[in-house]
Amino acid sequence: MVGYVLRRLLSAIPTVFIIVTLAFFMIRIAPGGPFDLERPLDPLIMENINRAYNLDKPLWQQYLLYLGNLAQGDLGPSFTRRDFSVMDLFRTGLPVSIQLGAMALSLALIVGTALGALAALRQNTWIDYMVVGTATLGITIPPFVIAPVLSLFFGVMLGWLPAGGWGGGQFRYLVLPVATLALPQIAIIARLTRGATIEALRSNHVRTARAYGLPTRVVVVTHALRAAMLPVVSYLGPTAAALLTGSVVVETIFGIPGIGRYFVQGALGRDYTLVMGTVIVIAVFVVIFNLIVDILYAWLDPRVRYD
């Protein structure tokens, strides 16, 4: 098991390396630079700035320098947010994004699987139609509609909850953003669970369990639902990575100081180091969560072995 984890992490290094390289050159080839303002700076000042940030060196040297710093855990200074290193930004922003994402993920997992299983067990009844209808709605309404509507309704019209802001992570401030993040995931997980449960209920081993007179509860919980969790677990890997690394929409609309915004802002402002940092964080999360999912999967399904 430990060996397996180590092997997997080791084999992820080349993947992350390729991603870093790709991202580095792609963003650098893009026209424009971090210090292009509406009115061009004095060439002399520009030269000084470029020298200070090593932007005057050939691209391959910059690449090697970046890799060298990266190996020492240094993501470099942010170009657009002076006085902050990229590491500083992550140190304050990442916990916020993770807290928000983790809450949304747990909520989505619990509510989504419960609703999906319920719909599958009551297939073709009004409960099923309700769940499927609501889930379809949840998938179809984009988060940037949900977010302002929730904020308007609960924040402005009813005044029950703050319409935006972080408030130091107080629960009141978390409710709306977590709901916005969780709703589409609840919908997707509910649909996945429903489909997988229906399939599992039709399988031969469930027929065996029924043929042996096992109570419905046992047939459903031990024999159908566990099998139905397998596709949900596979789905969770990339989803967890995406949720925990922040959402640009939710953070923008609710004004939350997470790291989801940095990517778009960094790319638009040519904040090279910030973009690279975000890419690396996302890639690392993807690698880690794929690993966790594989381990979970092998634990749930004895046919899968670590190999």
Binding site: R7, L10, S11, R202, S203, N204, H205, V206, R207, T208, A209, R210, A211, Y212, G213, L214, P215, T216, V218, T222, H223, R226, A227, L300, D301, P302, R303, D307
Partner: protein
């Protein structure tokens, strides 16, 4: 006379489908006496399985059962799941055809065996383990103390079926329903399982309802037989009477369906078409980046053979013996070592391009008539696909004429060539597959279990067709099969394979009448023996 333990009257099963209701069982009567063995015999689609599914309350969601089935005088059709659960799994148990999927892959077999015992209140969870080990011993699973903690995928098909039987016996049932329990298993394993069932019945005294399409098993196993056709019982009688004096024409047809006749060997002057020398195929398993060393699996281990014009070599063996792989290696469809010669020309190293012009001379027909025809092409397109490669100069009209000719030759109405494969029955599809091979006018045809997926009566027709085609075109066949009755009728020379090697080979009569090797003897015994299991046990 005693009262029947299970009394079925006017049982009907219907399924609601998009094309309207389908009546699978059309009002049948059936009795099971305590301790007797009843066989329900019929070909696929006769409704024999659905009858038992209805009694067990296991019909698919769109199925509905009507009529009456009484277990010891208690009506069980239309019972709620909760009430039915007091009977099924305790008084009536069932084993299924699919040993690979009937057990839950996510739980250890010990746990799955314990569930019916615990939920029917026989034992507590803490006391159940010794009973399970006892059951596993009873069904002859080797090393039960260790196997109790195995997952289903760690067992072979035969072992899984033993576990299912153990589960069926766990609560000392009155009736055990066995739905084609051996169909998915190799012949020698089949024989073991049947022997086990017969033996257990003698010791434990439950009634067995045996659902099968295989008359050989019925003859050796059942006291009474119900013959079903298209949802109705057409004949019922004691087994011995039924086999000696079948009354209904359908029963007579089933009994006469065993392929008969023998094949004379070709004259010794017949030219050798295909020759394999030390043919070996190895598969590499595992390995890869940071995954440790790969293991080489020898699927075919240095096999030599000669196939002459007009000859049929039967290749016999159980699943995993490498017989199909050998067939593909000889056609250069699987990478192999050793030498392969076709009409004296060495093709061991011929690549795809070099093989292409030769392909039409060596064709292949598969086991699965459903998987071997592309579902999105019409029969005409399927049959003429090879002509696109080998006779590209033909016009559409000429290809069509050839398709008509080929379909007529295999006994299909050429008017059907614009239909799609899913509209045809298994036997018809196999004819289409044969037409696809024959249209290219091959010299050699490798037949890979061409009759195994078919009902007996259809099997016989396909065997006759293949023999007619062989006579008409002086074809050479490589006939791969695990079904010895068919091989006996088709082949003049037999190769018995096990684990990639030849165990024994020789003329057909020689192998059947005087098998030398123990493995061949076991195979023959399992396939041809007609003594009843109960008495031999």
């Amino acid at each position: 006379m005693r009262d029947p333990i299970l009394k079925v009257r006017d049982l009907k099963v219907e399924f609601g489908t998009n094309d309207g209701p389908v009546y699978a069982v059309k009002g049948i009567d059936l009795d099971v006496m305590p301790g007797e063995t009843v066989a329900i015999v019929g070909e696929s689609g006769s409704g024999k399985s659905q009858t038992m599914m209805a009694i067990m309350g296991l019909l698919a969601g769109n199925g509905r059962a009507d009529g009456s089935a009484q277990y010891r005088g208690k009506e069980i059709i239309g019972l709620s799941d909760r009430a039915l659960n007091r009977i099924r799994g305790e008084k009536i148990t069932m084993i299924f055809q699919e040993p690979m999927t009937s057990l839950d892959p996510l739980y250890k077999i010990g746990r799955q065996l314990s569930e019916p015992i615990i939920h029917h209140g026989k034992l507590k969870r803490s006391e159940v383990r010794p009973r399970i080990i006892e059951l596993l011993k009873l069904v002859g699973l080797p090393d039960p103390e260790r196997r109790i903690d195995a997952y289903p995928h760690e067992l072979s098909g035969g072992q899984r079926q033993r576990v299912m039987i153990a589960m069926a016996l766990a609560n000392d049932p009155d009736i055990l329903i066995a739905d084609e329990p051996t169909t998915a298993l190799d012949v020698t394993i089949q024989a073991q399982i049947l022997e086990l069932l017969a033996d257990l019945q003698k010791r434990l005294g439950m009634a067995i309802v045996f659902i099968t399409h295989d008359l050989g098993i019925v003859r050796r196993f059942a006291d009474r037989v119900y013959v079903m056709q298209k949802g109705e019982v057409v004949e019922t009688n004691d087994a011995e009477v039924l086999f000696t004096a079948p009354a209904h024409p359908y029963t007579q047809m089933l009994l006469a369906a065993e392929p008969t006749g023998t094949k004379a060997p070709p004259p010794p002057t017949a030219p050798v078409l295909l020759e394999g020398r030390d043919v070996a195929v190895t598969f590499r398993v595992g390995g890869g980046f940071l995954k440790g060393p790969a293991i080489d699996l020898k699927a075919v281990d240095r096999i030599s053979l000669q196939l002459r014009q007009g000859q049929t070599i039967g290749i016999v063996g159980e699943s995993g013996s490498g017989k199909s792989t050998l067939g593909r290696a000889l056609l250069r469809l699987a990478p192999s070592k050793g030498a392969v010669r076709f009409q004296g020309k060495d093709i061991s190293h011929a690549d795809r391009e070099a093989m292409r012009p030769l392909r039409h001379e060596m064709q292949l027909v598969f086991q699965d008539p459903f998987g071997s025809l592309s579902p999105r092409m019409t029969v005409g397109q399927i049959v003429t696909e090879g002509l696109l490669v080998h006779e590209p100069h033909l016009t559409r009209r000429e290809r069509d004429a050839r398709a008509i000719e080929a379909l007529a030759e295999v006994g299909l109405d050429p008017l059907m060539r614009n239909r799609y494969p899913h509209e045809f029955s298994g036997g018809q599809r196999q004819r289409i597959a044969i037409a696809r091979a024959m249209i290219l006018k091959p010299k050699i045809v490798v037949l890979d279990e061409p009759t195994s997926a078919l009902d007996r009566s259809v099997q016989k027709q396909i065997v006759d067709l293949l023999r007619d085609l062989q006579k008409a075109h002086d074809l050479a066949y490589l006939f791969i099969s695990h079904d010895l009755a068919v091989v006996r009728a088709m082949a003049d020379h037999i190769i018995v394979m096990k684990e990639g090697r030849i165990v024994e080979e020789g003329a057909t009569a020689e192998i059947f009448d005087h098998p030398r090797e123990a493995y061949t003897q076991a195979l023959m015994a399992a396939a041809v023996d007609q003594t009843r299991f109960r008495r031999s046990a």
